[in-house]
Amino acid sequence: MSLTRQQIVKVSLLARLRLRDDELDRMTDQLDQVVSYMDLLAEVDTEDVEPMAHAVEQTNVFAEDRELPSLDREAALSNSPKRDEQCYRVPAVLGD
């Protein structure tokens, strides 16, 4: 299967990336190559094979239901690119 530039544009929107034209061209070529290589897996018979999402069998780990200290607000906000006293600031989400 061959990847098209149009598909790459769509995937870049899903990935929240904004690629320049030259990046889109290069990405189309390179990913097409890699994805073609991955089509190798199609030849493996995986009928009745259970998918393995994790290397160790996962069990639920429950924490005791009690209050513990958490990161204080100032520390949590300390790395934010834009903030006020209490919150992260972002560009306006609703109209003007």
């Binding site: 990913l31 290589y37 493996v44 094979v49 259970e50 290397a55 160790v56």
Partner: protein, 516 residues
């Protein structure tokens, strides 16, 4: 004790001399800082060196020791840390523009353990951006060179972690391994590196690349030091729900016990096309050494080996695309210049409106979404973007079953191959990488060729088993070659003992690059 020779001592020897009072921690730390001062301009293994802090920590340890106070296992010994592991109050960049000015508000569990052991954190080492790569060239902050040949890569992604040991700039270092990122640079730089069994070492505070594959592990210049550092790093951590709740074996005691009746499996599929003849010869010679020590070498098959790379890159990229979604320019890290971004967006909207397409951008770019996209495109480098794209594609509607679920199924078949193999043999021995270190720039434009170089290492992460790299030769160009030993889950003690046995009758681990 002459300060010139401190860097030549092993970590285990340094600890003995610190304990006996032969050396002070200040002398040890100063000696390694001098080495860094002298050589790191060439090698660029470190992104940051914490000279002041390291010296004042060393003074404090010396005082406590003089006062007869109890001290930790690594008291006064410098340890270098890969810059993917969070250190409270010290920048942790992942070698990315995205996190260039990020200062974690907490310590990773392994950092807490190193501090409890009274280790001295000497600095943070360079790596491929977000640990994605096999050469350390995708670092956006520095280019690390291989001390054995400065025109060549140190391997990656833990390239700085391995190079700083090879150049004698630290006695111990820690890295992370998602598909070979500890073992391959260890092999390229002629040092030891171990990827622990998934769950043995806490991942809390390790900046996530692929959560079901990532493990933190030790790098050192011999098997004893590796065992010692692993013993400090390993152990249950309630902050990591995948952490194994088991007692930690005394690796540093066990390591010196040779193994009787060891059976080594040699994987038929690992000696095929693409394997460099000198690497093959060095690995075969290492197998003969094991035979001379009484081990039995057995030919085995891992029938799904040829699917490991495709399986790995699908799973790792899917997990990466999901993990890296958190870099949105809001909570921490880089954000694009907002005023310029908004001005561009308004101009584009006006231009579209004048052509009667006023709503064309509505489904794509609100100011917030444009901020995300612009931030991520400027903050991430080419390889990281490639992997995010690949993962997003493989997880997108219509492809999820064909790629992601398919890869998870093949992952189980790969694990089953190992389970079957370990019923027949104790450990699996083979190459770490198909070739010695390549030249800087040689593979940067061909991602697929780069990925194929991970052929022998990715399976251990997919299967969740443990594996290490031991120096086993030099190529005709004088470049180190590594032997990989792989063991069943939680059998690190056997890996370490096997490495120690080999090291006891060979001297590859004592070779040092010329000029260092």
């Amino acid at each position: 004790m002459e300060s010139m020779s401190i860097h030549e001592l092993t970590a285990t020897e340094l600890i003995q001399r610190l304990e006996s009072g032969d050396l002070t921690s200040v002398e040890v730390v100063r000696s390694f800082l001098d080495r860094i001062e002298q050589f790191d301009e060439k090698v660029q293994a470190f992104l940051r060196v914490e000279s002041q802090r390291a010296l004042s920590d060393a003074e404090r340890i010396d005082q406590r020791r003089r006062g007869g106070d109890p001290v930790g296992r690594l008291a006064g010994l410098p340890v270098a840390v890969k810059d993917v592991i969070c250190t409270e109050g010290q920048p942790t960049t992942c070698a990315s523009r995205m996190l260039q000015h990020f200062t974690p508000p907490y310590d990773a569990t392994v950092i807490r353990r190193l501090k409890q052991a009274d280790a001295i954190l000497i600095g943070k080492t360079n790596m491929d951006e977000f640990a994605m790569g096999g050469t350390t060239e995708s670092s956006t902050l520095a280019t690390t060179c291989n001390p054995w040949d400065l025109q060549r890569v140190p391997g990656g992604s833990s390239g700085g972690a391995a190079a700083c040991l090879a150049a004698g700039m630290a006695p111990l270092s820690i890295g992370s391994d998602t598909g070979g990122s500890i073992r391959q640079p260890a092999s390229f730089c002629g040092v030891h590196g171990l990827k622990p069994t998934y769950g043995l070492v806490s991942r809390y505070g390790l900046i996530a690349f692929a959560s079901s594959l990532d493990q933190i592990g030790p790098l050192a210049r011999n098997a004893e030091d590796l065992a010692l550092l692993l013993e400090v790093l390993a152990g249950h951590d309630p902050s990591d729900s995948t952490s194994a709740n088991l007692p930690v074996p005394e690796y540093s005691q066990l390591v010196s016990q040779p193994l009787d009746g060891l059976t080594l499996g040699v994987v038929r599929e690992h000696f095929g096309e693409g394997l460099d003849s000198e690497v093959q010869a060095a690995v075969r010679e290492a197998l003969r050494v094991y035979e001379s020590l009484g081990a039995t070498v057995k030919d085995i098959s891992l029938p799904h080996s040829r699917y490991a790379i495709a399986t790995y890159y699908i799973i790792a990229c899917c997990e990466a695309s999901s993990n890296l979604a958190r870099y949105d320019g809001v909570h921490y890290g880089y954000r694009t210049d907002e005023a310029a971004m908004l001005a561009d967006l308004v101009a584009e909207q006006r231009a579209l409106a004048s052509r009667g397409e006023a709503t064309a951008l509505d489904d794509i770019d609100s100011p917030l979404v444009r901020m995300y996209r612009q931030t991520r495109s400027e903050g991430f480098g080419a390889e990281v973007k490639r992997r995010i794209m690949l993962g997003t594609y493989a997880l997108s509607h219509g492809y999820y079953d064909a790629y992601y679920v398919k890869a998870l199924k093949v992952r189980r078949l790969i694990r089953n191959d190992f389970d079957a193999a370990f019923r027949e043999v104790d450990l699996i021995a083979g190459p770490v990488a198909p070739t010695p270190a390549y030249r800087l720039g040689e593979k940067t434009e061909d991602p697929l060729a780069m990925y194929l170089g991970d052929l022998y290492t990715v399976s251990a992460n997919l299967a969740g088993i443990c594996a290490l790299s031991v120096p086993c030769g030099l190529s005709s160009d004088g470049l180190p070659i590594g032997l990989q030993l792989q063991g069943p889950p939680l059998d690190e003690q056997r890996l370490l003992r096997a490495a120690r046995m080999y090291q006891a009758v060979t001297d590859w681990h004592t070779r040092r690059p010329e000029g260092f």
